[in-house]
């Protein structure tokens, strides 16, 4: 089917990689388009991506918590029970909500990438 990127125009959706123009490789192996479907159903592809993204976010949070716990203990700032009983102020809650929105976007942006119809041909694999 030739170079799948040849048919692309300008587009950008959320955090997907932006292929703003046609690439021009000289011969060689045709490059697959920007959203190849690897599994039997695009929903499965999206699900796998969400799971991996979720794992990344979990690690990001765990790494931060580990760093914080070490710092808190090293500096003798807090006992662990204080953290358990913490409740954010109204201003802090707004910040937390913004963080939550970013969290949702990071993990579930795949839902926006799903095509409306399933490609009929497997030629692009």
């Amino acid at each position: 089917m030739g170079n799948a990127l040849g048919a692309l125009g300008t587009f950008s959706i959320g955090l997907r990689l932006v292929f703003e123009e046609t690439q021009t490789p000289e011969g060689g192996t045709p490059i697959v388009g920007p959203d190849p479907v690897y599994l039997q159903d695009p929903v499965l592809d999206a699900t796998v991506r969400m799971v991996v993204e979720l794992a990344a976010q979990v690690w990001v949070e765990r790494e931060r918590r580990l760093a914080l716990e070490v710092l808190i203990e090293d500096h003798g700032i807090l006992e662990r029970g204080v953290l358990e009983n913490f409740r954010p102020s109204a201003t802090q809650a707004i910040t937390f909500k913004a963080e939550r929105d970013r969290f949702m976007e990071d993990i579930f942006k795949e839902l926006r990438r799903l095509p409306i119809t399933v490609p009929k041909s497997k030629d692009d694999q």
Binding site: V18, G28, L39, A56, A67
Partner: protein
């Protein structure tokens, strides 16, 4: 012991650093022994080979067999995903500090000890317009492309090359010319100049020049060298048309360059290297291992990397016989490259060629 200044671009937040730390670990897990896709898929291919009674070396057949397996498809999905995640994270992180990074480059452009020569009338040949490794906008269309490349390769090298350890190791393996004279070295397609500065540390009295087509890469290369205090010169030039006089260099060097060139340009580049390397000088090449003698899964992986990881020229390079090309244009390759994997990285091999 003197500590080496850190030249890695700083990410915007701890979140971004941890996210990319995850990608690095995930990449190693799915491409290595963690998920162990390779051994299991290759075993499946070898079983098919045994069943048919002759070697499985037809790529179309291998592809069909891998894609028929849910495991093969999942491997493809995950390999693609980890690469996309890396660039997403870097895009977000660098975009949020674009003006700062841009000013950082401008600050170092005119500072030494080495020089940066950019060509305001430079014409990028069409074949370089590729998003290699899926890097957003490729190597030259974003002012920050060099920073993207630097952090992207940090993830690729799993943090083992943060202080140019791999480049220093490979550069140190390049043999001396027979007369031991090393006054001038050319680093072809030097990107962010890690080999260039490694050569300077090995031969501090030699003149070291790194060339690349990408201005953003060269600006990062120059910034790195200036921060490190390494006196090396960077020039915006094409590897197939360096514009240096004949027989100038004692060592000409190319690290993972050829697999990103069309076959036509590979020939032109070897011819050009032969022109600028003096008689008795060394042309040292480190690049992907060839496809000859590879397992069925490794053949599949080469194709997958080419098609799904933005490496359109790598298949042709791995299928070609670089040693024959080197010989054709006036080099003598001292040692057969087969089996000479380099630098502890299984995907690399070297060709050390002497100009005759």
């Amino acid at each position: 012991m003197k500590s080496t200044p850190n030249t890695m671009p700083k990410l915007a937040s701890r979140h971004d650093t941890a996210y990319l730390d995850f990608v690095e670990g995930f990449r190693e897990y799915i491409l290595g022994k963690g998920a162990n896709f390779e051994d299991r898929l290759n075993a499946n291919l070898l079983a098919a080979e045994e069943e048919q009674g002759f070697p499985l070396d037809d790529l179309e057949k291998i592809k069909a067999l891998v894609w028929a397996q849910p495991l093969g498809r999942l491997h493809g999905r995950l390999a693609r995903t980890q690469q996309e995640m890396k660039w997403h994270a870097l895009q977000r992180s660098f975009e949020s500090q674009r003006s700062v990074l841009s000013a950082e480059l401008a600050y170092w452009d005119s500072r030494g000890p080495g020089t940066l020569e950019l060509d305001s009338s430079f014409q990028y040949p069409p074949y370089v317009n590729v998003h290699f490794h899926l890097q957003p906008k490729g190597y030259y269309k974003d002012e920050l492309s060099g920073f993207f490349y630097h952090y992207g390769t940090k993830v690729f090298f799993r943090g083992d090359n943060d202080q140019d350890e791999l480049h220093e190791k490979l550069v140190s393996r390049v043999p001396l010319p027979k007369d031991s004279k090393v006054n001038k070295i050319l680093d072809l397609a030097c990107s962010i100049g890690q080999s260039t500065t490694a050569f300077h540390r090995l031969y501090p009295k030699a003149e070291i020049i790194g060339i690349d087509y990408s201005a953003p890469m060269l600006r990062v290369a120059h910034r790195r060298a200036a921060i490190l205090g390494d006196k090396v010169d960077f020039k915006q030039r094409l590897v197939e048309q360096t514009r240096f006089p004949d027989a100038q260099f004692d060592i000409t060097f190319a690290f993972i360059v050829f697999h990103e060139l069309p076959l036509r340009i590979i020939h032109d580049t070897v011819r050009e290297a032969a022109r600028v390397t003096r008689k008795g000088g060394i042309f040292a090449v480190f690049d992907f291992t060839g496809t000859a003698g590879k397992s069925p899964f490794q053949l599949y992986h080469r194709w997958f990397d080419a098609r799904h990881n933005g490496e359109p020229y790598s298949q042709d390079f791995c299928d070609c016989h670089l040693q024959d090309i080197l010989t054709r244009y006036g080099f003598h390759v001292a040692a057969a490259p087969d089996g000479q994997r380099s630098g502890g990285a299984g995907y690399l091999q070297h060709w050390f060629a002497t100009r005759v």
